[in-house]
Every structure is written in structure tokens, then in C-alpha cells.
Amino acid sequence: MNSTAAFVEERNPTDWQGDAMQKRIRKRYASERRFKALGLGAIILSASFLAFLLIVMVGNGFRGFTQTELPVEIDFPAMTGGASASQFEGANAVANVRTLGVRDIVNTSVQIQYGEQGTELFSAGSWQTVQSEILDNPDIVTSKATLYLPVESEIDVAYKGDGSASAEEKVAELEGKLSTGFNSNFLFNSDATDPMQVGIWGALKGSLITMFITLLIAFPVGVLSALYLEEYAPKNRFTDLIEVSINNLAAVPSIIFGLLGLAVFLNLFGLPRSAALVGGLTLALMTMPVIVISGRNAVKAVPPSIREAALGIGASQMQVVFHHVLPLALPGILTGTIIGMARALGETAPLLMIGMRAFIATPPGGIVEPATVLPVQIFLWSDEVNRGFVEKTSAAIIVLLLFLLTMNALAIYLRNRFETRW
């Protein structure tokens, strides 16, 4: 019988140069190469998805920032009966321009140039372009002027190369007169029924206000909860239960938070429907668990030796937390906050439940006024029948992504500023 000791004595010297060993080494290198290739493949795949998304979005969305225009010559002195430029300056400018009847002036001028049916070529709101032109530059009313006005949506789409047969015909008729200009409406208007008149500003402002409220509530409450749970709360069954609940809350589908917001903020507290305040509160509920979890992890990662050092020279618990633990945990907390806020910014479902899907034609003036947010606006436009909304939807997505990037860049900048080198 071989005893263990005997076996050890009989062990052959390892043959590092032998065929079997060389084969094993080759196999190990091969598997290493395979792993590297797989990793690289995964990176390439995800990068190409991202590139595809960006190219499609930017390609489609870019057209949302332009509009097709037709020139209209307006004989202001004749049409207005000799209005002077000074009328449209100063305090009464808006009132005076309203009494001028710009819509009739534009319609008449259009009919003179493009015939009886000419007004059908133009966007119903194109006279507003003229009105704002007069307010911007009152001298225009003293002479004949040629203005470029947005055409009707079907023609706009056809001119951009994607329209119906009848619209294509009209484009062919107007060949040479049509041109492309920058669509300033899109940046400064709010929702409208005419795709030539819609804008993103209302939704953008709604998103800004909503995010501000979300941050204002979720950040302090989340950070204080994390600090209390880590630094003060005793570790027992009850705090374990709280921890499990918070982890579960972070995984709850967002629409359920919407229902909660509907039941609590609207029905119980009677807060106004569609308001940014309610949207912000609802999203804060959703964001808080994410901040609490990341905050607790960041607080946990602060070395205990720092706490001991501070306690050892007579710092109180609160001084330990606010002078040492929180500053060191802040970068980690901010990372969690970025993730939570980015998710909140892109959230649609809970906001639909609290009525933020309303048609909002004027930007919200405050936290309790009806508002909508970017993702909801995108959702609403994507549902529209009119083909003119397709490019507006893509353009809105670009604005949303830019908003997101700006927010993240700001947060990363702040995080790096607070980062302490050890």
C-alpha cells in the first residue's frame, strides 16, 4: 500500500518542457485570447448599437430643426393704411400689432401672389411669424418687404423628401421658390396641433421644473436616510426590514409610483392635476431609494479609522458624520444621484398617471401650473397621425438626450470636485 509519504517521495519531477505541459500552456493562452476577443466583440456590438441610435436620431431629428419656406411679398404701407414704425415700439407694441389684423394682411398678400387657394400652401400659423417680425423690427412696416413664411406641413414633409403624392405635385409646381430655413418655432414654442408650429420649450421648461423639485426632495431625504441608517440606527430586525423594503422599492415598476402619486398627491392631498409639483414629488418617491442605496454604500466605504480618529479627539457623532463621513462619501452619493435623476428625467409612465399627458400649449409659469415633460411630449407626438410630427419627435429626442448629457456632465464635474485624494 502506498502511504501518503511514500507517494510524495515517488513523485516525478515536473516536466516543464514536455509535450503535455506545452499543450496545456497553449490551451491557456488560447482561452485567454478567446476571452479577450469576446470582450472586444461585446464592446464593438454595444458601440455600434449606440452609433446606430445616434445616427438615426440625429439624421431624422435634424430635419425637425428646419422648416420649408415660401417667400411672400407684403406691401405694408398699402395694407396697413400707413402705419408708422413707432406704433410698434414701447409698451403698447403688442396691443397695436393685434389691432393691425396681420392675419388678413398675410392672407391677402398670399392670395395676390399664389392665387385664390394660395393660403392652403401655408401653415395656418404663418401669420404669427410676420407678427413677431414686426415686433422685432418695426421699421419693416414702412416699406414693401419680402418675408419667408413656413409652408403647410404636408408640403414641408414632401419637400424634405418623404411626402404623399398630392403634396409631391405641389412641391413640383413650386419648384425654385421653396427654400429651407431654421425653425426657431421649435425652440421657443410649446405643443400645438400644427406640426409647423410645435415647439419644445414648454416641455423643456416642464422637465426643468420637475427635475428641480425631484432633486430638492429626493436628495436631502435620501442622503439623510442613508446617513441615519448607517451611522445612527441600531442594527436589528426592524432596520433589516427597512433595508429590504428600500431595496425592493428601488425595483418597483415606475407606473406603480404613478398610481401612488395619483392616490396620495391628487386624491388625498388634492394637489392640482398635471402640475410639475406633483410630477416632481412622484419622481422623488421613485428616485429616493436609489439615492439611499448608493448613499449607504458610499457611507459604508468610508474607512472606520477616520471615524475613530475624529471620535478620539472628542468630535460628537454629528461632527463625525458631517465633517468627515459625508464629505468622503459625497462622490459616491452623487454617482447614485446621477443614476436616479437620469432615470427620473426619462420617465413617462408615472407622469401619465398624474395627468401630465395633457395638451399644454403654453409653458408652465410655476410649479402648480399644468405642465408636461420631454419624454411625455415625445410619447404624445409619436402618437400623432400627422406625418410632420415624425421629425419633431426625433428632434425632441435629441433635445432630451442633450438635456441628459448636460445634467450628467454637471454631476460628474461636481463629483470630481468633491473627490478627495487619499
Binding site: 479609522s305 477616520i306 480618529a309 478620539g312 479627539i313 472628542g314 468630535a315
Partner: protein, 280 residues
Amino acid sequence: MTELIDNASSSESPIMTETAPPAISAGDGPLKMTTRNVDVFYGEKQAINGVSIDVTMDNVTAFIGPSGCGKSTFLRCLNRMNDTIPIAKVSGEITLEGEDIYAPSMDVVQLRARVGMVFQKPNPFPKSIYDNIAYGPRIHGLASTKDELDNIVETSLQRAGLWGEVSDRLQDSGTALSGGQQQRLCIARAIAVDPEVILMDEPCSALDPIATAKIEELIHELRGKYAIVIVTHNMQQAARVSQRTAFFHLGTLVEYGVTSDIFTNPTQEKTRDYITGRYG
């Protein structure tokens, strides 16, 4: 629970049944801290068993003993650092200047200012050298003007023997210093709040011999200004820096006396075995 302790003491070590040595006799300078029959429990487990020690002003007191003998646990009782461990229970009497430090009327924050602590691993704050020192005086309101604070920082660093090395870069991060400098920075930080007692928990265990020598020299210089209690693994260090030595074994105080006596003529067999390197 008492049953448990009795079992432990009777089965594990017969020496525990021997009577603890009497406290140091008079003539050692004013008493700073006294402990009487201190027991510490971590949950069910007893870590310290009836320890009585007097800490005097003019002597450096060293706690020696094998790993896990409870010397660090006992040290942390002296400024109530064990309060941060929820399962730790301390009983018995510990006084500072005659005041019971576990009495409800004792303010633990002030106690820790009066009984400063230096830890095993240098743990400067990730702030500038200046802010490391100034933090304690700031939170306790010890300086009313910037000049006063500057003065405290300078004298603390001088006492810790670090001023010459860092005077021209007080705004550099404290964590950028070498290990030995960091530990002296921690000592300076403890000195800055003007404590009465300084507890040192194996302050040199993470340092090289040269840095260790500097810390030992520093302890010599600080003797008499502060009552110093040092926990050490290194018996030569205890012999070099201390005038009083307490030998701990399995949570009990085996022997406490004048350092030279402990090292040359210990009264307890356990102590002799440990000092001569038979175990530990």
C-alpha cells in the same frame, strides 16, 4: 453568565485564580486615572476580567501581553471608545481625576478630548496638515483667533517633533506624509486639544525601526506633560519607554509593577514565561 466565566477561568488558565497584584503604591506622582474591577463583555464573551490599574501622571504605563489578551480592549475603556461597539458592555469603576467616567453625568465628547488617543494605524484626516491639527481645537472652541490657532498648530507640531519637517508645507495633505510622520501627526493632533492623558494603541506596529525610534523618543519627551498609556506587542519597546508595565493574559491582569522589576524579577510565573519568550 457567571457560570460561563467561572468555567472559563477555571479551565483555561489556573493563573487567573491567583489574586491580582495590588495597585502601585504611593510615591509615584499624582494619580491620574484609576480602574477598579473592570469587566468587559462582547455579547456573551468576556474580554476583560476584573482589572484594577492606577495610571499616574509622571510615568509612562505600558500594557503588554500576547495577542487577544484584551490589552487594547482595556485601553479603549479608558476613553470610552468601546461605546461605539453596540455589543460591548463595561462594568466596574474607571475614574479620571476622581470622576467616574462611566457616570451618566460624564460628557463622553469632553472625556475623549481630555483622554486623547493614537491608533495602531496612522489615520490622519484626508485634509491638510494644518487642518488635521486645527480640527480638534476648532470643534472644542479652544482658539478664538486665527493667531491663537496658528500658535496651537505650531506648538503641537513642535511637541510632536514634526514642525521642522512640515513647517513649510502646512497646506499639503496629511496623507501625503510618510507612515512615521503620519503617526507623529496623529500624536500632534491628539496634543492639540490639550489632553490630560494620551492613550497609544500599538502606535509603532505599522512603522519601520527608524520611525519607531522617533516615536519612542517623542514618548520620552512627552512624559510628565501628559499621563501616557501605551499598548505594545514589543517587549523591548515597553522596557525602553515605560516606567510601569502591566502584563495581561486572557483578559486578566497578571502582574502590574515597576517596569524594571517586571522585566528582571517578575513575581508571576506566567509573566516570566512570556518575557523569556516561552510563549506569546
